[in-house]
Amino acid sequence: MDFSFTAEQERFRREVREYLEREVPPRWKELGYLIWEETDESWDITRQWNRKLGEKGWLALTWPRVYGGQERSHIDQLILDEEMARAGTPTGIETAITIGWVCPTIMLFGTEEQKLRYLPDAAKGRIIFCLGYSEPNAGSDLAAVRTTAVEDGDHYVINGQKVWTTVAHRADYCWLAARTDPDAPKHKGVSMFVVDMKSPGITVKPLINILGFHSFNEVFFDEVRVPKENLVGQKNMGWYQLAVALDFERSGVGTPARMHRTIDRLVAYCRQTRRNGRLLSEDPVIRKKLARLSVEAEVLRLLCYRITWIQEKGKTPNYEASLTKVFASELLDRLANTGMEILGPYGMLDRGSPRAALRGEILRLYLTSPSMGIGGGTSEIQRNIIAMRGLGLPRK
């Protein structure tokens, strides 16, 4: 058992930390945006940042060189993710979607030509994918997608509707799940496509999220023609490819790193804030709540490390990624709520308000937190995966 990093890995950590201290744009820090908070301005900052990381080779650290990567280890990736979260670098969910989900799936199931067409550009931060998964009647039951892709000469013609499509209004491509065999059982008739978002027939309509930002969309496909070479992997095997892709999610180690940062801010707040005759840091209830969060974030960090270690051994995590996600989601809810409890009436003050505490960050976190247990497979679905795939409990 050895939880340590090699001297070389520690050197890389220092290199990353020094770079981030120097390079994170001041305006990004000023904005203080969390996930799902996005404007034209913040989008420009994150795009520029990704190109900068791409030039350094840090956007796709572990990928093969031929696809624009550095062929570095998963542990180096973990270090990079941890330091970027700690430093609060400009990032949004689109990077996780593109680099973490879509591209690794293309790498696994795509043709050489497909890989060379998308991966090097993604690794340089030049292209962004959105996920065409959910539909009005296909959420947790993803295999129920109704959007169709019908062969017509050397094209497929797409018709249907996607929903909750994050950054569809800005993405270059859609990674689309569509039904290619309407007569097959639902899991066996789905295929995956790369669809150019500039294609005629695509209409994107904004949905405003509960933080007041435009991140979600409805996407309508009306007779959208997609070249046949854009089908990735085996026809009608899309659902299985997609299920594998969910395991590719990176360690998620950024989440505990961000949580520790928030806990540190709450600790600092408690040390300098007096309420009803004493410092908040002297209140035994608050001490216990923050300590418990710190313990839980530490356990989460270890569970994330385990995922990296499994990947480092050349294996694909099984139930472990689901386990980490469900724990992380619910811990985020607890962290946000504890933060609100500690701030009390100040927790009700939003960013930009006079007398807002911690720049309204906790209020924003509280609004953000329900999303984590919903997107990317709900906590209920994750628990099903742990039980059935991890523990072999029966389906019927």
Binding site: I263, V267, R287, A291, R292, V295, L323, A387, P394
Partner: protein
């Protein structure tokens, strides 16, 4: 980074688990609650023969020279079957106390006797007004011609009734000083009363009524034991976590197996999402306990600063011990409420492990201090 046991540790674990599952069913711990000793001497003898008592004893003193992680591997196996006996009080508390505090001569004399199983030990630290915190100990060691005289009452002393040596933690003469004295189990003036415990462990009240100890029976340096004793308590807390991880693993395995075979409404109850989600939650808790415990054990084995990691491990493991075994009962249903079903032994052991060497509240306060609160 290497997040699994070494090949040797895996072999040690497999051998230990295999032996214990054969020789020591979980029901044994409960059957032994009324036994005079509290364990079958034949079982203890076999553990000695397999070298477990010498797991951390250096080879020069007749041990196998392993480290704290090796010790945790054996503790996990013992926890898997809730094994009764004096292993924890002798090898963990006694052995580590000698290693932390003893002089070279004491190490040679005592560690070799621990390894050969000739010496059962007990640690007398807690008192009516002192729990897991040596600074509140009142039992005094008064210096007398040629030695010490101990007066005071110690509580929750596991295996005092069978101990060859009781390590008594005393304060004085200097205010706030701490010494650990080696008291022979049959010393005049000792009064040992077994207590009746939740999980059947043999805890005792030990009254020291002007018990005499020779000057040479101070473990290490007199009045300077406080830092070493704190290190001992930290290691004991993690050792208890390792035992709990084993205990929870079995309770969990039993539960998943039961959920697969027990049928209601014409299908296995493990096919119901309500049951599946309980199982998933148990696995989150258990995996977390395992890694938090391993991390703390790794730091101890490498003698790295360990305070935060120990507190994290014991706070988390204490909490989930209760949660996991409670869910195990819930999924088993009424059958597990019967004494003949072994699950209650794990439920009992989980609670007693939760409390031992500081529960979650105790360790959370340490974490809070470490955060700067």
């Amino acid at each position: 980074m290497e997040l699994e046991l070494t090949e040797e540790q895996r072999m040690l674990k497999t051998a230990a688990s295999g032996f214990l599952k054969k020789e020591c069913p979980p029901a044994l711990a409960w059957e032994m609650r009324e036994d005079e000793r509290g364990y079958p001497p034949s079982l203890w003898q076999k553990m000695i023969e397999m070298g477990w008592t010498g797991v951390m004893v250096p080879e020069t003193y007749g041990g196998i020279g392993g480290d704290f992680m090796d010790l945790c591997v054996i503790l996990e196996a013992l926890g898997e079957v809730c094994a009764p006996g004096p292993f924890f009080s002798t090898v963990v508390l006694g052995g580590l106390a000698v290693m932390e505090l003893g002089t070279e001569a004491q190490k040679e004399a005592l560690l070799s006797r621990i390894a050969t199983g000739e010496c059962i030990m007990a640690l007398a630290a807690d008192e009516e007004e002192a729990w897991c915190d040596a600074s509140f100990i009142k039992t005094r060691g008064l210096r007398e011609a040629g030695g010490y005289r101990i007066s005071g009452t110690k509580l929750f002393v596991e295996n005092a009734h069978v101990a060859d040596i009781i390590l008594c933690v005393v304060t004085g003469p200097a205010e706030g000083s701490l010494s650990v004295l080696l008291v022979q189990g049959d010393a005049p003036g000792l009064r040992i009363t077994p207590l009746k415990t939740l999980a059947g462990e043999r805890q005792c009240e030990v009254v020291f009524d002007r018990v005499e100890v020779k000057a040479s029976d101070v473990l290490g340096e007199a009045e300077k034991a406080a830092p070493g004793f704190d290190r001992l308590l930290d290691q004991a807390a993690v050792a208890k976590c390792a035992e709990l991880v084993g205990c929870l693993q079995t309770a969990f395995d039993m539960t998943v197996a039961y959920a697969k075979e027990r049928e209601q409404f014409g299908r296995p109850i493990g096919s119901f999402q309500a049951v599946q989600h309980h199982c998933a939650d148990m696995l989150i808790d258990l995996d977390g306990a395992r890694f938090a415990t391993y991390q703390a054990a790794w730091r101890i084995a490498g003698r790295m600063p360990w305070s935060r990691e120990v507190a994290v491990a014991k706070a988390w493991t204490s909490d989930v011990a209760r949660k996991v075994t409670l869910k195990a009962h819930q999924i088993h249903g009424a059958i597990s409420f019967c004494e003949e079903h072994p699950l209650h032994v794990f439920y009992r052991k989980a609670k007693s492990g939760e409390v031992a060497f500081g529960d979650a509240d105790f360790h959370l306060e340490r974490v809070a201090g470490g955060l700067g609160l």
